[in-house]
């Protein structure tokens, strides 16, 4: 069904392209990235491989309140040795007078500035500020604005790993300067990277605003269970920026998430699922932090960390970014995994599960066009 869904959209876009006058402006843009990734395994051996990717987007002019988008991400897959792709966008959006309708492959993002989002439409879509690709869905979205800051959206998606429709409902408004959302998601059991994520119904509430000089945010979630009481989770976070005398700026963000261990794999993504074992406490507390320091207009260093307060394990992620020219940037990112065997972010895992290394270094260039 999903295949036919995409093919139908592709035909619609081709039709649309054909109907656009020749003088209309069609543009192509994207990013070309090349990096070298070195992985240090838990025996101290280093395995390095190059990673190249091309993010290609077609910019089409709107046509009678209808907008078409196409974006594809091509990359060399170190597992298969060949090139692979991720279709990010292939959709049509029409803005009716009272609502917007979007049909096709599209990103569904319910982010609110947090580093982890336990109440997103697709859990694990954004982990530690890094996208995992899970937010791109074959879906139909209806979006109805009620005023400039208040809206209701309904999503019916066809997840890749499930035959059943995934439903989402989200309301958004602003009260006293606070951006508030209330959302509901219902999805069937699905398999992601060998891990079965059970049928899920969840309701989430998020808030984002200011408290004096601080930016503050939080979420409250409830994961329903079939025959027993559901699980509550909560998350609080804050951000702040400080200017030094020399004009340099440091940005700070701190976040705490408390949730049941059994729901963690969904939020952290499959990469850590091997470490989520019964050895861990039932209620997990995660502390996340980010420090970003601007060296000058073009370069900055950052330090991000996530730690399990239950077992003291953590991942430390230092980074460096330099905008070399208008279109060329340089990035260096390091991940250091720290923790004993059986801990959440420790490098040792059980047999048969994906191995978490002791460290990872990625150095690369990105060219935007």
């Amino acid at each position: 069904m999903k295949k036919y869904f995409s093919i139908a959209i592709l035909f619609i876009i081709l039709f649309l392209l054909g109907s656009i006058s020749i003088s209309a402006k069609v543009d192509i843009g994207g990013e070309l990235a090349a990096s070298l990734i070195s992985i240090i395994d838990n025996e101290g051996d280093i395995f390095a491989y190059p990673q190249e990717s091309l993010d290609l987007e077609l910019f089409l002019p709107a046509f009678n309140n209808t907008q078409a988008k196409f974006e594809i991400y091509l990359y060399n897959n170190p597992l298969s040795g060949g090139f692979d792709y991720l279709l990010k966008k292939l959709y049509l959006k029409h803005k009716f007078e009272k609502f917007h309708l979007t049909i096709g492959r599209q990103p569904i993002s319910w982010s609110f500035s947090s580093m982890l989002n336990p109440v997103d439409f697709s859990l694990g879509a954004m982990v530690m500020d890094e996208e995992t690709g899970a937010k791109y869905q074959d879906a139909i979205e209806g979006y109805m604005p009620l005023n400039w800051n208040t809206s209701i959206s309904v999503v019916a998606a066809l997840p890749e790993n499930s035959q059943d429709i995934k439903w989402g409902l989200r309301g958004r408004t602003v009260i006293e300067g606070y951006d508030l959302t209330l959302n509901y998601v219902q999805e069937s059991e699905q398999e992601v990277a060998g891990i079965f994520i059970p049928t899920s119904r969840r309701i989430g509430f998020t808030g984002k605003g200011d408290l004096g000089p601080l930016g503050v945010y939080g979420s409250l979630g409830y994961y329903f269970k079939a025959n027993e009481n559901g699980d509550f989770l909560y998350q609080i976070g804050s951000d702040y920026s400080y200017f030094f005398e020399a004009g340099n700026k440091v940005y700070l963000q701190l976040e705490y998430l408390s949730m049941k261990q059994e729901n963690l794999s969904s939020v952290l993504g499959p990469y850590f699922s091997g470490n989520i074992t019964n050895n861990l406490d039932n209620q997990i507390g995660l502390l996340l932090g980010l420090v970003n320091y601007e060296i000058n207009e073009f370069s900055q260093v950052s330090l991000m960390a996530i730690s399990s307060l239950n077992d003291g394990s953590m991942i430390i992620i230092p980074g460096y970014h330099n905008q070399l020219s208008n279109n060329l940037s340089f990035d260096l990112n390091i991940a250091i995994y720290s923790g004993k065997k059986g801990t959440l972010f420790g490098s040792n895992v059980l047999e048969g599960t994906q191995q978490i290394p002791e460290g990872m270094i990625e150095v690369g260039l990105t060219y935007s066009f």
Binding site: G29, F59, K88, H100, Q106, P107, S109, W110, S111, F112, S113, M126, E131, K135, Y143, P145, N147, W148, N149, S151, R172, V174, G177, D179, K208, G209, D210, P213, L214, G215, D239, Y240, S241, F243, E245, A246, G247, N248, K249, N296, E297, F298, Q323, S325, N326, N327, S329, S368, F369
Partner: protein
């Protein structure tokens, strides 16, 4: 939209009049009247600007391009250069919203970010997107008369009014006597420290208005760094469809 406004320091009404008459008349103006003239000139019902922001630091230069739309209270900026293409900012009153083109998500930006450099520039979000009249924010007085690039100017000092939220506690402005354009401005913190300095490099008469089309903001806290702002195209009072300054329009 202080930045856009800052770039739109216009002396249009007076420029139509006989120069000598203007000089004589302007010489009798009070600080409030001068700023009022300047505010009147630069304060549009709505404006659309295509602009370039040139960030220079240590001999390196990066150019960002944008389209900005503003009315009396709200602003919408969309970046068009390859690296930031599709990134949008919406400012409504004191709230700032950002649209991320990749995720197509909209996030409310924390208030403290308003004073930070927009997209790595020396212009803050507040500089670029503020749309309040200066007369609503500051109390001004004349502190002298000087020439800037051979043009006679009033030198005015503005101090932030009590209980008004502003990015800069004090500002000193050199205002062209004939055209009522701010040719130079110094922006100070409450501590008295000079934070930024803006200078107008080129002024053009467009649609009967004098427009500073090329200006530079220098961050005085940093060495060897400044940001240029060039207006490529400007439309006064364009028709703005209902719902332009809304979250749904960011999508």
């Amino acid at each position: 939209m202080r930045k856009v406004k800052g770039l739109l320091l216009i002396g249009i009404i007076i420029s139509i009049l006989i120069t000598n008459f203007v000089v004589i008349t302007a010489a009798e103006l009070t600080a409030e009247e001068i700023i009022y003239q300047r505010d009147n000139n630069e304060y549009f019902d709505s404006v659309k600007i295509e602009a370039e922001m040139i960030i220079v630091s240590g001999g390196r230069k990066i150019t960002k391009t944008m389209v900005a739309l503003s009315d009396k209270k709200n602003s919408l900026v969309e970046f068009t250069n390859p690296q930031d293409r599709g990134t949008k900012f919406l400012k409504r009153e004191d709230d700032l919203w950002m649209f991320f083109p990749d995720a197509e998500g909209i996030v409310k930006i924390s208030g403290h970010m308003l004073n930070q450099g927009m997209m790595g520039s020396d212009f803050s979000y507040q500089d670029i997107m503020e749309s309040d009249k200066l007369t609503d924010l500051y109390d001004f007085k004349i502190i002298g008369e000087e020439e800037i690039d051979s043009r006679p100017c009033y030198v005015l000092e503005g101090v932030a009014r009590e209980s008004v939220k502003v990015s800069y506690y004090r500002r000193v402005s050199w205002i062209d006597k004939e055209r009522f354009i701010g040719l130079q401005e110094e922006l100070y913190a409450q501590s008295g420290k000079l934070l930024k300095e803006t200078k107008v490099k080129e002024v053009q008469e467009i649609e009967g208005r004098w427009i500073p089309v090329d200006s530079v903001m220098e961050n005085k806290l940093r060495k060897d760094t400044y940001t240029g702002f060039k207006i490529v195209q400007i439309d006064f009072n364009p028709e703005i469809p209902e719902g332009t300054f809304s979250l749904q329009n960011l999508r």
